[in-house]
Symmetry: C2
Subunit: 454 residues, 2 copies
Amino acid sequence: MQQALNFVKSNHQRYIEELKTFLTIPSISSDPERKQAMYDCAEHAVNLLKDAGIDNLKIHNTPGHPVVTGDWLHAPDAPTVLIYGHLDVQPVDPLDLWEKDPFVAHIQNDRLVARGTADDKGQLYMHVKALEAILKTDGKLPVNVKIILESEEEIGSVNLPAFLKANKEYLTTDIAVVSDSGMLAEGKPAITYGLKGLTYLEIELTGPNRDLHSGTFGGAVANPAEILARLLASVKDEKGRIQIPGFYDRIPDMTEEERARIARVPYNETEYMSSLGVEELWGEEPYTRRERTGARPTFEINGIWSGFTGVGAKTVLPSKAHAKFSMRLVPDQDPDEIMELVEKYFIEKAPKSVKVKFIRHHGGHPVVTPIDSKYMKAAEQALAESYNHEVYFLREGGSIPIVADFKKILGVDTLLLGFALPDARTHSPNENIHLPTFFTGIESLVRTWYYFVK
Amino acid sequence: MQQALNFVKSNHQRYIEELKTFLTIPSISSDPERKQAMYDCAEHAVNLLKDAGIDNLKIHNTPGHPVVTGDWLHAPDAPTVLIYGHLDVQPVDPLDLWEKDPFVAHIQNDRLVARGTADDKGQLYMHVKALEAILKTDGKLPVNVKIILESEEEIGSVNLPAFLKANKEYLTTDIAVVSDSGMLAEGKPAITYGLKGLTYLEIELTGPNRDLHSGTFGGAVANPAEILARLLASVKDEKGRIQIPGFYDRIPDMTEEERARIARVPYNETEYMSSLGVEELWGEEPYTRRERTGARPTFEINGIWSGFTGVGAKTVLPSKAHAKFSMRLVPDQDPDEIMELVEKYFIEKAPKSVKVKFIRHHGGHPVVTPIDSKYMKAAEQALAESYNHEVYFLREGGSIPIVADFKKILGVDTLLLGFALPDARTHSPNENIHLPTFFTGIESLVRTWYYFVK
């Protein structure tokens, strides 16, 4: 193990250069024009894994973007680990807020800045390098490994459940490991044991059959942008509680133990507000901020548009108004049931002066994994030694639908070892990964595989 | 007069071809890239007027787009009329809803379709042709005429008041005539005696200092798109009454005479709804639809945008949210005072989790002109004879700020003779002018000038 750790320490510069190349591929899965980039990215990953010493590499076509698999299965009595990562990234708009080209990584203040550094190319690359370090020094891995890299995580992993079902026997392992989450702060490692589910909807309201002159027709017909504002404004009461009937029905009360575990995690509210540039926090009463983001469901408007949005003034009464919004869910909310409750709420509440249409985007189940397994304890030790700091156990607001699918389809629990820092700006301009954390993270993954069989 | 009317009748085809050429100039005043088109359009208008027989033509530069003036002043004892029109047009988006290129006019069902056909190139062209018909047949006009064409009507005539002040002596006439409004319906002529004022604002809310991951941060901070929805939703109560303190203070109660005059105008609500494709109308209670659009102030959202508005799903909690909205005003509301009341309302109502910024767009004063002047009666007779139908007197929801400026700066009342039909789609895709109405309208303008001195 020590040789592998030394190997990691002596390869930092190469890791940066290799990762930079990997990051140049604009693998935006939601952009229909990036189909080729998605395939290029899968090929690139295959080459990285081949160089690391992984066998049986394959690119699988799906109805959407490709899936990459590979394995190393030469540790007969050891457990088998399924390592998951995703090759696709979020869109880059608003482009003008990026300091440099989002697909040309640059280093700033110990951080590598580019789309995909933290979510998730940088983190899956750490796994590849940990395996490589062990294979190049020890000649074998302490555990068996199967690898699955998908290209549709940012669009809801739409084709992965079918892939898991079709390859269930191959993919069923002792544990899955996913690195697509974060640490508590620099030097403070964390294991995420809870993730939220997701329901994402787009609504289109149509009022008059065309854009109208707001002078000639203002006062005569309902303005769909105004109706949309009213509908969206009605979703929460003044205490931030979601008013959609049935929304909270399946959520058990938080236990005192859970509240205490969340409260134990260090947190500086003043710093938190200052890093976001806000003068106050806001959310569902009577919960704390960390309970809201980690353990309570949320409703957020992700986008809204209607009418004239160009420069200057156009006196139009718009025909249509649109919004994208998503709910983050906690156990035991069901994304499909929530989708139906939400659609019903909007349809019933909309006046008959508008027609309501929905586009259903991706969803995912919430998940909370057991925090006392031997794998969790091994990872805790690996992280604690690598970062020389106690490990925190987190429930996070992000959604990794595949974690629920691993459990539901394969019967496999997932260990979430994440290395993004809170200001990694995932999904935002200037996404980054903190390089010292990244290098130490590779070491912690090396240790994890050895401690799995200790 | 009869010769001039015959001249009009025998020139229909030429009028269509000339107007088509005029309409090819993309004179969108709000588009900073159209500066040259604005100047080209002014030159084109000068040539049209020169060919018609108008003297002293000039293009005046302003801090914005140019103003054209010209005159014919050889009727010593007759009144002097100021004819106003505007050369600029509204933006053309959404472009995909146009059946053909908005700047390549085509004929469909007796209508000429292109941006500017109704608002206002087509209507000002009618004036040029009426003058031409008289000068070409009679050799002289029955009245003196001064012409002023501006290029900034669609952006609030920002530089015209200063121009009026600087040229007050020249421009002060007995009456102004503006054709930038509409008829009641095909074959039903109308004179507009009331126009609304306008206050147009743009609001920008800033919440967190960057776009955030809606999973990681959802539930922690207020979402500016949600705050914007709440603020906009709060502007009206459930009966459509605007809740901004002081908004209605300067509006006198409608007189019974006024309500009766509005009620006398024929109106088929079923057809109206069907033409708009809506199942119900909506507006301020307890007023009728025509009272709301004509004689009551309104508040309309003209545009709203925030977050991710592309194809697909992006799980972002946006940093900023924007809206453009405008109020149509009635006497004696003051656009500047209303602007301040509205800004105050939003600033006071916004929670401290967002920063509020306003961009002030153009405004204009409301106006109601006397309906019993000799000019009004002459025009009424001219319209009634030309269309062989009684003339209706209308208060309209549109704003022509210059009409208030003519009164305030020059002391001149304005006669509004409009020829757009209700489905002219001004400000919308497929704007059009109905050609039979257009040709008869030119004849009615010929008659108007003769009846002014009868």
